[in-house]
């Protein structure tokens, strides 16, 4: 079997697993929503509604049908690519998702980029300078960053860059300038964790016998570091990254609130409050797909960084 076909089969297998994973997540969330107290129809009808009005709305939403019926209907529509209609606005869920998606993707990608850059750069610096003052400094800063709540850090950024220096806007989404502070805030935790991860694996790899051998063969230190050490040190960091992306998605709601941004996080919180089931399902499906795809990319990147993975 050629390497290309093996790759394709691997990706296909992973994609099937990804679809199954999203499906399982959707089913679980559907069951949890059904079990949670609160009637969405009563919420939509509002305080002043009569029981008859509530019943009419239940019939319109289909929430008076038995659980299995609601579930089969939902999955049936899903298979046709229909995410359903939001209970509260009567707009298609896909439409409401699309409205918030741009801002969320911008924030997530720029935060990922910032954390990878910072994590690799500072991790390598700290690892190479193991136990010297630079390492201690980076360690202290990352310790500080991991213990600070993003909420507090966000307000600190606003105070420094918007109120005092007046360099960057405090609120809004859309422009590049409006993206900088929120991405910094969101990436802080992830960047600190990645820095630690990369640092530790750089230290481990530097102690491996093959590094001594390479150095003994007279290779330039820079070449040893970038071609061999970094490559080996990145693998555990990348694994960690796949897990941390989930954390990024869940803390986005805090950042969206602090910086008054659009985003899926706030959409989800609002939908949960009013038990807008199709909306919650839509965001869940999107988030789980995103997470699964991110982890798929992580897995694929192993083989790019270390070709031995493909053979295994």
């Amino acid at each position: 079997m050629s390497a290309g076909r093996a790759d394709a089969a691997y990706v296909l297998r992973r994609l099937v697993a990804a679809v199954a994973g999203s499906f399982a997540a959707a089913t679980l969330v559907f069951l949890i929503l059904y079990w949670l107290p609160g009637d969405p129809a009563a919420l939509i009808a509002g305080d002043d509604a009569s029981p008859q009005m509530v019943a009419n709305i239940q019939a319109r939403l289909g929430t008076n049908a038995p659980l299995w019926h609601q579930y089969v209907t939902y999955i049936g529509h899903l298979l046709h690519g229909d995410l359903g209609t939001s209970f509260t606005t009567n707009e298609p869920v896909s439409h409401r998702l699309a409205g918030q998606l741009g801002a969320s993707l911008q924030l997530t990608f720029s935060a990922c980029l910032m954390s990878i850059l910072a994590g690799v750069v500072f991790g390598v610096i700290a690892g190479v300078n193991h136990d010297r003052w630079v390492d201690h400094l980076i360690q202290s800063v990352t310790m500080f960053m991991t213990s600070m709540p993003p909420f507090w850090f966000g307000l600190l950024l606003v105070m420094i860059f918007s109120v005092t220096l007046r360099w960057l806007p405090a609120i809004g989404s859309g422009s590049l300038r409006q993206l900088i502070l929120p991405s910094l805030c969101l990436s802080s935790l992830l960047a600190a964790q990645l820095t630690n991860m990369v640092r530790n694996s750089v230290i481990d790899v530097l102690e491996e016998p093959f590094v001594t051998t390479l150095r003994g063969k007279g290779l330039l230190e820079r070449s040893v570091l970038y071609r061999h050490v970094l490559r080996n040190a990145l693998i555990p960091a990348i694994t960690m990254f796949g897990l941390l992306v989930g954390e990024l998605l869940s803390s986005a709601v805090v950042v969206e609130t602090v910086f008054a941004r659009q985003g899926l996080g706030r959409l989800m919180v609002e939908a949960l409050g009013v038990k807008d089931i199709p909306m919650i399902m839509g965001v869940t499906l999107f988030a789980s797909t995103f997470l699964i795809l991110a982890n798929l990319l992580v897995d694929l990147s192993y083989s790019w960084i270390d070709p031995r993975v493909r053979a295994a």
Binding site: L36, P37, G38, D39, P40, A42, L43, I44, A45, G46, D47, D48, A49, S50, P51, M53, T89, E91, R96, Q100, M114, A118, V121, F122, I125, V134, L137, I138, V141, T142, M145, L155, V158, M159, F161, S162, W167, L168, P169, A170, I171, G172, S173, L176, I180, L181, L184, T195, T257, V258, A260, Q262, G263, R266, L267, V269, E270, L272, G273, K275
Partner: protein, 534 residues
């Protein structure tokens, strides 16, 4: 070697340097755009349909897009607005409105009697579930007598009617736009107001522009013609510290609901100006579930209240920026008994302890009282979180109650579960407030037939019901006020509710803008706003 922090500063600096056309924040407002940061809470969906929103933040935006038939004057009487004059029949069941002429909706449709009738028909349609339905009371029919004359018939006298017509909840919408947008009207609002809607970004921004034809401002306005500013943009900034930061950095010229810890700072800042006005409403009050033990016993309710020092709580939480409330109705609302009821009771923990001892509630080893092996433990149900620092108040109440031997727990629920538990009476204590333009709002709380399914107030007091029903149709203002006085005294005497604080709605502006105002209801107005060249 850079530290992480230096790296971030450097990154931020270079990103700015590379962004073309950096301008100081203030220059962004050139061209007459006024930016307002408002507290829209974490609500992603804007609903700008006046007839279908009870959410005060959205009503603050609605105020700029729509006008009403009448305006609420500072003395709480009503004055002409889109209705130039009106006659009320002697049986007070028929109102004939003479409408102002030459008014047009933003979509070009004429404002006339047929348009107003369409508004009432929409509100009274038995198939709808509009929030504002309760505001039109015993409405029976609307008839077009001439293009500028409309007759409205009620099936019994309803004194709050004119005042309700001044509320954003009964603002006049364009029937052609309603026909065009249907359910999506709330995201495509069309009215006759000083600003017309141009677009929104769900959850973050609402964009309006000046209505150049506007010539029908109410008598309370600073001037009759179109607004001065060209564009009015509302940005939803739910985090209070960010709202203050956006104002201080000049990114917006107006921010509302400045938190109490920042009020002194805003007042002291020569570049900022603070406006505040009482929101006409039912004061935020604790509601005791009188349908279940222990609150079914009036003496226990008295003991509960005597254990509390509400004055101290309000001083500590709001730092002197919010007055303490004594009456169910906010002080400026018509017939409020705030001044009469001030100091009508005072905390007396010793007396509270004596009542509880006598009733058989004896302190156990952990300090909490017990009777027949049952602890005196009660739960406070909540769905709103710490909006207006309300949960901070509840935390202090919990501490004072613990001293008295009563254990209070906070039962935080999502809105859905909250409504379900309240509807089933599974709570001991709840609390709330509602913006209102007439004391008739009490009828919806204390008259069981008017009550909503999930009503936190479950009092069943025949005298109270009779006074409130009578007051709704009482034509004599003095008699009507007297009935509300009786009702408010009864609510406090019997400890059906315990008022906590009076909400002063506030907004702060930078020196870049003048003429922003707050109307009699307590909603912001931008018709007279003017930008100052910097």
């Amino acid at each position: 070697m850079p530290t992480r922090r230096e790296f971030y500063w450097g990154l931020a600096g270079s990103a700015i340097a590379s962004a073309a056309g950096i301008r100081p924040a203030r220059a962004q407002t050139a061209g007459g755009e006024l930016l307002v940061a408002f507290d829209g809470a974490s609500v992603v969906r804007f609903v700008l349909d006046p007839h279908n929103s009870l959410f005060a933040p959205h009503n603050r935006v609605i105020r700029s897009i729509f006008d009403n038939l009448v305006v609420l004057l500072p003395d709480q009487s009503v004055g002409p607005w889109l209705a130039a004059s009106w006659d009320v029949s002697t049986d007070r069941k028929t109102y004939v409105f003479k409408l102002r002429q030459g008014v047009r909706f933003h979509d070009g449709a004429p404002f006339d009697a047929a348009a107003v009738k369409a508004n009432f028909d929409r509100l009274s349609d038995p198939k709808t579930v509009l929030y504002a339905k309760a505001e039109i009371g015993p409405f029976e029919s609307a008839e077009v007598l001439a293009s500028d004359t409309l007759r409205i018939t009620l099936n019994r006298p309803f004194e709050p009617f004119l005042r309700n017509l001044s509320s954003t909840k009964l603002a006049i919408i364009s029937p052609t736009a309603l026909a065009r947008y249907g359910d999506a009207f709330g995201q495509n609002p069309v009215g006759t107001g000083p600003f017309r809607f141009t677009g929104l970004t769900q959850g973050t921004e609402i964009r309006l522009e000046r209505n150049p034809d506007y010539a029908w401002a109410p008598p309370t306005a600073s001037h009759a013609g179109p607004a001065y500013i060209e564009k009015l943009t509302f940005r939803n900034v739910p985090e209070q510290a960010t709202r203050v930061a956006a104002l201080k950095s000049g990114q917006v010229q107006v921010a509302d609901l400045i938190p109490s810890q920042n009020i002194a700072e805003v007042k002291a800042d020569p570049d900022l100006r603070l406006l505040q006005k009482e929101l006409l409403n039912t004061n935020y009050s604790l509601a005791l579930n009188v349908t279940r033990a222990p609150w079914d016993d009036e003496e226990i309710r008295q003991a509960f209240r005597l254990s509390l020092d509400i004055g101290a709580i309000v001083r500590v939480v709001y730092l002197g920026t919010a007055p303490r409330a004594w009456s169910p109705l906010s002080p400026s609302l018509f017939a409020s008994a705030e001044h009469e009821l001030a100091n009508s009771w005072k905390p007396d923990p010793a007396k509270a302890a004596a009542i509880l001892d006598r009733k058989g509630w004896i302190r156990a080893a952990d300090g909490i009282r017990e009777k027949d092996g049952k602890r005196l433990a009660i739960s406070f149900i909540d769905a709103q979180g710490n909006r207006e620092q309300r949960l901070d108040c509840i935390q202090l109440i919990r501490r004072q109650l613990a001293h008295a031997g009563i254990a209070l727990s906070i039962d935080s629920q999502a809105p859905g579960a909250y409504l379900q538990k309240v509807a089933q009476g599974e709570y001991d204590l709840a609390a709330g407030a509602q913006f209102a333009d007439d004391p008739d709002v009490l009828r919806r709380y204390y008259v069981p037939s008017e009550r909503v399914v999930a009503a936190a107030i479950r009092v069943n007091d025949p005298d109270l019901q009779q006074w409130l029903d009578q007051a709704a149709s009482e034509g004599d203002t003095a008699k009507r006020a007297e009935l509300y006085r009786l009702a408010q005294h009864r609510i406090i005497d019997k400890v059906y509710g315990i008022p906590v604080y009076v909400l002063l709605y506030n907004l702060a502006t930078t020196g870049a803008v003048t003429g922003v105002d707050i109307d009699t209801h307590g909603f912001p107005q931008f018709h007279g706003a003017r930008l100052v060249a910097s």
